[in-house]
Amino acid sequence: MSREAGGGFAQTLAIARRDLLREQRVGEVAWITIPFGAIAVLLVPLAVGTDLPTLTRIGPGLYWAVVLLFGVFIAVRKTAAETPAQRDLISLLGLDPVAGFFGRAAASSILLLGFELVVGAVAVALYNIDLARWPWMILVVPGAAIGLALLGTLAASITANLSTGPALVPFLVAPLAVPLLLAATQAMDSLRPGDSILPWVLLMVAADLALAIAGVLTARPLQETR
Amino acid sequence: MNGWGWVLWGYGVVAAALALYTWTLLTRTRAARRRLDELR
């Protein structure tokens, strides 16, 4: 007997809800990844010196480097991993692979946004970062979260169930995250009056779109088990 | 070091790297052939 599978959007929500519930129960991002990012922001001045004007100048760049290098651990979190049996089940449920990809990326985006906000608050406080024209950050911060989540979700699927997967993902993600890093840091650099921030916001959007397209193109072959 | 020095240095490094890669390629090929012969 056959029934209609749930709609693509309902499936996307179901996957995102599943991932967020699993994270909520375990608290891997909240209690491990986010504090780790915060301590990275705290450690850097110990290495480069605690001269506040210097920190204010390089602070935004340090912040984004920490977000991209440590935020990627959200994509390989244990609570997003699936055992071979769970992958078999997902395949047999008739899940639309595109819905599965966007559902997992959506959950990671939300967690990454949380990571950015907490680590960002620490960075602003410790480095005395000036948030002039901060409303633009409403676009830049989620844009980076979405891009990194899409990229991390792709890399995590490609390395699913490999023994070296959790080590490979950050390495695979880092070079391809360059547009996100440049767009975010240059947007913050351009917060000075007179500089235009728009091209960098557009670059962020373009990077996110390219990754979403890559995810759609590769969703089906990525879902194949084996 | 004059200009020629840098040129020879650059060409030398690349030639050495190319030779090293070719050598590893031939070694790996020989090893794979031997393994295939063993299995047959």
Binding site: L176, L203, P221 | W4, W6, R33
Partner: protein, 251 residues
């Protein structure tokens, strides 16, 4: 695939053509008059620029092969993809080595953060990642599929990487010294450059051919191992030999 035909992989016509082209290109690179502004150091140009061109060609070939694999699921495409990607990594390495050795006498530093150099370094790491991913997967079909997917994801993202780096450099102009196109190229210099390009293309083709033959061999090893004795499921398991009673019950 001439190389795979010979028992010990003797030199094929392609190998000989590549060697001859290299000899010709070297002669032109060393015997042409010094370039007007940079002098002899500019001869590194004939090494640096052809190798980056060949690296890009190899990565383009790897992309075509990846798409070919995903569409047709024929392992030949996967063999070609790994051959092209590995040779691309090697030539990207040459590019960076030659570029750094050229930069030191010209600008006084090994690394200049020019858009081109930065992009080449990023490309190097993208394809080292590709090779690292392949090493992590044992099953040939799974490896071919996942590697092809990563290849495609990278290529969708690389144009964005390219534009982002170029924009970033445009804003932070380092000045004209960091611009390698400042070289005056005409007449015999142009001939030397194209000779270098032809030579490197032939060398890369010869290497890809051999790497492809190696991939075919390795697949053969895998298949032969699969056909080998003792590789059938259940063969490794026999009835337990603890106590006589278990045997009696079955007997």
């Amino acid at each position: 695939m001439n190389a795979s035909g010979h028992r010990m992989g003797g030199a094929s016509w392609l190998d000989r053509a590549a060697l001859a082209a290299v000899a010709g290109a070297l002669a032109l690179a060393f015997l042409t008059p010094p370039e007007a502004t940079q002098g002899n150091v500019a001869r590194l140009f004939y090494l640096h620029v052809p190798s980056v061109s060949v690296a890009y060609m190899a990565f383009a070939l790897a992309l075509v092969a990846s798409v070919g694999y995903l569409v047709s699921r024929r392992m030949a495409f996967d063999h070609l993809a790994v051959a092209a990607a590995e040779v691309g990594v090697v030539f990207t390495g040459f590019t960076i080595l030659a570029g750094m050795i050229w930069a030191k006498p010209t600008w006084g530093v090994y690394w200049t953060w020019s858009a081109r150099l930065t992009l080449t370094a990023i490309m190097l790491f993208v394809y080292i990642g590709y090779l690292a991913l392949r090493r992590a997967i044992e099953d040939p079909q799974a490896r071919a599929r996942r590697a092809a997917i990563y290849g495609i994801v990278s290529v969708v993202q690389i144009p964005v990487v390219h534009f982002s780096v170029v924009w970033w450099r445009d804003i932070h102009q380092l000045g004209t010294v960091a611009n390698p196109t400042g070289i005056q190229m005409d007449g015999i210099l142009l001939v030397a450059f194209f000779a270098g390009l032809v030579a490197f293309t032939l060398v890369a083709a010869a290497l890809v051919t051999r790497r492809y033959a190696l991939a075919v061999l390795e697949a053969g090893v895998h298949d032969a191992a699969a056909r080998g004795a003792g590789a059938l499921a259940g063969d490794a398991v026999e009835a337990p030999r603890i106590g006589a009673r278990a045997g009696e019950e079955h007997g």
